[in-house]
């Protein structure tokens, strides 16, 4: 009897697991489907313009997505380029050099930073960071090396540069706390094996910790990149939401748009214009495809590195 009832629960349990997995897949398919469906009017009218067009004017029904797409890719890439080395430094300090007493403090701060709602980063970026950077960083740079196009003026404060910076601050806690976890899992017997050969601490990190943590840090980076690509609120508040960058001005200090900031700032007004609305949804579809592709490529890369 007992055996039978166990078997019965086993079956129910398996069915529940199956159903929950199917629901997740179902939601994804539904989401993808509705994005595609609602993009169709825009794709018919705009064609490839939505990918490559450089201007956006709902009054004349011109919907070019290139500046927003590039804004998303560029700000995320810059955020990653800054956040990865910073995170690695934090993780190395935490696990290898920093005093053990400091650890709860550092990890507490990291958890706190990761938990701050993005609108608060947005407010802080808009009211505090933007004027400080404008006066102390952007203006002096424009005054000294402003003849280089990417550093040219005027200093708007709200800019692709500020958005990238805010994204850096937002994804650093994610990448660093995962890196800390992975670094501290490096097997002690491997570390000691390297130390016993006369290695310095840095040589142990380079020869043992990094190779061990490589794949995990890569995964953390992809996670951070996903967060940066999709981040909406904070970016919308600090990027300036204009189509200045990168076609009318290549300056890092020009205001710009990302896919998410475009959608967030225009969606409410777009409901009166089917093509406008549909164009914003096509941008969302493009973002989804970008995210999926990155995850897909990451998967392939991390599978490939298993053998080597």
């Amino acid at each position: 009897m007992k055996y039978k009832s166990n078997f019965f629960f086993e079956k129910i349990f398996k069915t529940i697991l199956k159903i929950t997995s199917l629901i997740v897949i179902g939601i994804f398919i539904l989401l993808f489907y509705s994005l595609v469906e609602r993009s169709i009017p825009s794709l018919f009218q705009n064609g490839l313009e939505i990918l490559f067009g450089t201007s956006w004017d709902p009054n004349f029904e011109i919907f070019g997505g290139a500046p927003a797409i590039l804004g998303t890719l560029f700000s995320s890439a810059i955020a990653l380029i800054f956040a990865l080395p910073i995170s690695l430094c934090i993780a190395i300090f935490y696990t290898e050099y920093g005093p053990v007493r400091l650890r709860p403090f550092i990890s507490g701060i990291m958890d706190l930073l990761a938990a701050i709602p993005s609108v608060i980063y947005g407010i802080w970026g808009l009211w505090t960071l933007s004027p400080i950077l404008k006066i102390n960083f952007q203006e002096p740079i424009i005054a000294s090396i402003g003849f280089i196009p990417i550093f040219s003026g005027p200093a708007y404060g709200l800019s692709i540069f500020l958005a990238s910076l805010i994204l850096t601050i937002m994804i650093t806690p994610i990448i660093s706390s995962i890196s800390i976890d992975i670094f501290s899992k490096t097997p002690m017997h491997l570390r000691e094996g390297m130390f016993a050969l006369g290695a310095t601490k840095w040589e142990v990190i380079k020869n043992v910790v990094f190779p061990f943590a490589k794949r995990g840090v890569f995964a953390a980076t992809i996670l951070g990149l996903g967060r940066a690509l999709g981040e909406t609120m904070a970016v919308t508040m600090v990027i300036g939401n204009s189509y200045l960058w990168p076609f009318k001005s290549v300056s890092l200090f020009a205001s710009a748009s990302t896919i998410t900031s475009k959608i967030a700032s225009e969606f409410p007004e777009s409901v009166v214009n089917l093509i406008h609305n549909s164009s914003l949804i096509s941008l969302a579809l493009i973002l989804l495809i970008i995210s999926i592709s990155i995850n897909f490529v990451a998967e392939i890369i991390s599978k490939k590195s298993v053998g080597g």
Binding site: E192, M194, L197, G198, F212
Partner: protein
């Protein structure tokens, strides 16, 4: 005794407040095999980890006393990296670097010293792998990962890695405890040859192994050095009744 390679004077060690070694003094003769025996938890591992300054890597670790290598105090007159290059170590659990090939494992220590000369590295790889009896088993593919070898092969690879930098002293922490009898026999016969170039200090929980491989034996008990002398004397006519009890298998 001018032929003494390594001198330990009044060595005590702690983890936080817990004392694990109590004023141990002894002198290791050059180019001999010295076995360290004693029941689990007697401080054997801590003792040899104090000899190449690995002890200080453990949180809460503290040392007092002197360890002198060829007249130089390894704690005050040498830096830890230099000490560890001169005093090599083989661990209880084979620990080849999994991200490195067999070849790179053997030359890891040399690369740390900045040696990049391909011909020299090739020569060292072959001679050290031959010395540990691994050459014929692996020479067909030195690019394989060291982690793919069997446990016994991995341990011999680790010995080759430790020997590559030509250490003057080799510390071995129960190198055969995780190995099968035939791998154990290979490593034991290797230990007997190694003393031609280095002083070998080997921990073993197996008194028969101590008797088989060593010239001298030190018996540690609860952090104290109970007896040290020629292995033959320790086993045939121990001075201390504790030693006699231990080597005859009546405790520990």
């Amino acid at each position: 005794m001018s032929s003494n390679k390594l001198k330990v004077e009044d060595l005590s060690a702690w983890f936080y407040e817990k004392q694990v070694l109590n004023r141990v003094s002894l002198e290791f003769p050059d180019k001999k095999v010295i076995a360290i025996i004693g029941p689990s938890g007697c401080g054997k591992t801590t003792f040899i980890r104090c000899l190449n300054r690995m002890h200080e890597l453990t949180p809460g670790a503290r040392v007092r006393g002197r360890v002198v290598l060829d007249g130089k105090d390894i704690y005050t007159e040498m830096d830890a990296m230099e000490v560890r290059r001169k005093i090599g170590m083989v661990f209880q659990k084979p620990n080849p670097f999994p991200n490195m090939s067999i070849y790179d494992n053997v030359v890891a220590g040399l690369k740390l010293m900045g040696i990049r000369d391909k011909a020299l590295l090739d020569k060292v790889v072959e001679s050290k792998l031959r010395e540990v009896g691994l050459w014929d088993e692996v020479s067909d593919d030195l690019r394989r990962s060291g982690a793919q070898l069997s446990g016994g092969q991995q341990q011999r690879l680790c010995i080759a890695r430790a020997l590559a930098t030509e250490p003057e002293v080799l510390l071995m922490d129960e190198p055969t405890s995780s190995l099968d009898p035939s791998s154990t026999a290979k490593i034991e016969s290797l230990v007997r040859v190694l003393k031609n170039h280095a002083t070998v200090i080997i921990i073993t929980h197996n008194v028969q192994q101590a008797a088989r491989v060593s010239d001298y034996t030190a018996f540690l008990y609860l952090g104290d050095l109970i007896e040290f002398g020629e292995t033959k004397k320790i086993f045939e006519s121990p001075k201390n009744p504790l030693t006699e009890k231990y080597v005859t298998g009546r405790f520990g």
